[in-house]
Subunit: 431 residues, 2 copies
């Protein structure tokens, strides 16, 4: 018995194989059952005729519920009308695990109903396509950095102090008498790692106790954060641009079938080529004013502002040199104009907003200490971070890219909740 | 000005280049300074003669502290006596960032002293070698699964309930009135993902609030966990064996220099070839008895037991069919002998103990429900997990491999605390 995976089915044309999977759906027309099978690697139609399998098996197939686990034997036949180009002419069927009253039927369901059944919802063709694109994006990100000799250096999830204030931190009871906080970013540690290993990146989950219920926020999300010793703001923008182009090209190249399942307009993604427009915060404010939007110089952009700015371009746009006052304490001020910081955000097109944030870090000991005090941060917790400026400080830059936002954009989704197998949100901790 | 990375230095023989890095150490002999440079990609000796650079630069170099950030210009010269095969004849030196009284000197330091300065300790050659081997192992693991068409499906860090009891769980205050727990394993979710995508793996941090202070435990550690629909216990052992062989071969092949830095006896690693011995729990107990060790059938192996069993073999050993009573509720009993479970542990040689644990999962609804009740687990929290047996249950198997334990074994370390950039332990949350 040859067990074939549906994704490899073209290798078995004319052969007798067994598909082990599940009955995705079924329709019947007189003496033929059309069984849509799925085995995790793909979807494929199996054609069962009463003449080929006999009365008993044929009648049994009449009553198979959606998601019944089945082992189906048959001959692979090329058929240009079939979605994958092949069908299976069934000669035998065995029920491995029954299924009755599967809750997710082909009819429409509300999103809360589906999220409560996320462990089953991921069996749907569309959800599988999203998760495969997610995997491809993650592989693309890792290959991009690995092929450039970056060292993956994991940063801790348990941190003793806050990177940017404590209101959005999740506290953890760390044994009897200590409180740890879940990381919001590996950046500070990446800076230490870059001083050791030169070019590094972290890739892991990060956490934000944000009470907002927007389509862009999860409480638990994955971030990749590269950091490079001796790199400037422009180097960081080059690196970010190369990363985004490389990842989008890879998904277009390797996940065309999934993008088709998602009905993604790929012509929009094909425009994602270097060079990206690079505009200053001042330029971005001017775009808003030209569109008649009220915005005062000095503030941070909100979602609608980001959408308006990115709508101005057909590819991602890098917006740099934000007012220092709205950016984190560790950002290096522009030496030519200290009221702005050498930071950058990359905004995705089609209204998807910020996918990358980063810039050049403050490498001067005295100024960093001053900033820590101005921000009323506990200096003691940052002594190790100050050490990086005490012992051989160098210019360095990096950024963070949120995986779920990139998946959401590349797949063309309405909401980030479908970009991860088990989304965690304000009111969502199950399953 | 050509900026060269030390790891690529052989490409620049005879050329004038700039190395941007740090002064690792320095010794002087009359009119020559020997400067050991590091730039994150490697270590390289730079030779500065007074004749070549003049009095002023030469004298300045007299006072450079360890870890001073320097940009050094010079000509690359082949020298068979040099560790990397090349030296730099210095023509110029610029101090980028000063460093005085660097705390980690070439003398011996206590491990607590070093762990308090972990952000600096990782600059040491030995620590860099470990972190590069870690990266190579992680790449090897991912490539192994990706090349076999597994889908990476991330499992949640925030979980609503405990997989195996609550005493070793870290509680998180999840907004006002909810408690979440940090994941100890993605397995239950992987099972749901395997029912959707066939062959899946998760790769992420896991957490265990273990109060023990052993050389094998961290509170925060990384695990890879594959899960395969329609796979049996033997399939899982095959997969685990292939993974371990592939990862060890890759490190031997690509990280020979790092293993040399670590003074690892690579002849031990070269013996890690398939097939691994596969013995039953009963056989393992017999080994202990033959060695005169007291051990009663029915218990779980402790560290010394694992060491005694694995010392019996020159390569990893798979121990299968443990007593059901000591294993998790979701393990499938052996149909031929229900008092043992279809579980497997893989023990590394040289006393490193368990690196992999897994097996075949219980796929029968009634028996799973009975086990949940026997273990007094809250059934409501496991309804989604029971759904996997309600709707098309199939045989399935998988395992988890702890990354830090593998790094510790491959590098030949005494303690897992050096296997991760920022180890978290009972009394260790800083830096």
């Amino acid at each position: 018995m040859t067990v074939a995976h549906i994704q490899d089915i073209s290798q078995y044309e004319g052969q007798n194989v067994t598909i082990r999977g599940w009955l995705h759906n079924r329709r019947s027309s007189g003496k033929i059952h059309f069984l849509m099978l799925r085995d995790g690697s793909g979807f494929m139609q199996a054609v069962m005729s009463k003449a080929a399998v006999g009365d008993e098996i044929f009648t049994r197939a009449d009553h198979l519920g959606q998601e019944t686990a089945v082992s189906v034997e048959g001959t692979v036949r090329a058929d240009t009308r079939a979605p994958g180009g092949y069908e299976l002419d069934v000669s035998g069927l065995e029920v491995v695990g029954p299924s009755a009253d599967y809750p997710i039927t082909p009819k429409e369901h509300g999103v809360d109903f589906l999220l409560d059944r996320r462990h089953l919802w991921i069996r749907a063709e569309r959800q599988q396509a999203i998760l495969r694109v997610r995997h491809e994006i993650i592989r693309g990100v890792r290959d991009y950095f690995d092929s450039r000799d970056f060292v993956l250096a994991d940063t801790p999830i348990f941190t003793p102090s806050a990177c940017e204030g404590t209101t959005t931190l999740f506290p953890v009871q760390y044994f009897e008498d200590t409180t740890a906080y879940l990381t919001q970013s590996g950046q500070l540690y990446n800076e230490a790692n870059a001083m050791a290993l030169g070019r590094v990146y972290s890739f892991g989950p990060t956490f934000r106790a944000e009470k907002s219920k927007t389509r862009r926020h999860l409480t638990e999300f994955w971030m990749v954060e590269p950091e490079v010793a001796y790199a400037t703001l422009d180097d960081a923008i080059d690196l970010a641009e190369g990363l985004v182009v490389s990842v989008v090209e890879r998904v277009l190249d390797r996940r065309a079938r999934e993008l088709k399942t998602l009905e993604r307009d790929t012509s929009k993604l094909e425009k994602v080529k270097a060079p990206f427009p690079r505009i200053s915060y001042d330029d971005a404010v001017k775009i808003l004013h030209d569109k008649g939007m009220p915005f005062e110089w000095g503030g941070d952009f909100g979602g609608p502002d980001e959408t308006a700015i990115s709508d101005h371009f057909d590819r991602p746009v890098a917006v740099h040199r934000y007012p220092s006052a709205v950016k984190a304490f560790y950002m290096k001020p522009d030496p030519n104009r200290p009221e702005v910081a050498l930071g950058v955000d990359v905004l995705a097109p089609e209204g998807y907003g910020e996918i990358i944030g980063g810039g050049q870090r403050l490498d001067d000991y005295d100024l960093l200490l001053q900033r820590i005090r101005e921000h009323k941060l506990p200096q003691e917790a940052f002594e190790w971070y100050l050490d990086l400026r005490r012992f051989g400080s160098v210019p360095h830059s990096g950024f963070g890219m949120g995986i779920e936002r990139v998946v959401s954009w590349v797949c063309g989704l309405e909401h980030v909740r479908e970009t991860i197998p088990y989304p965690r949100m304000l009111y969502r901790l199950y399953p």
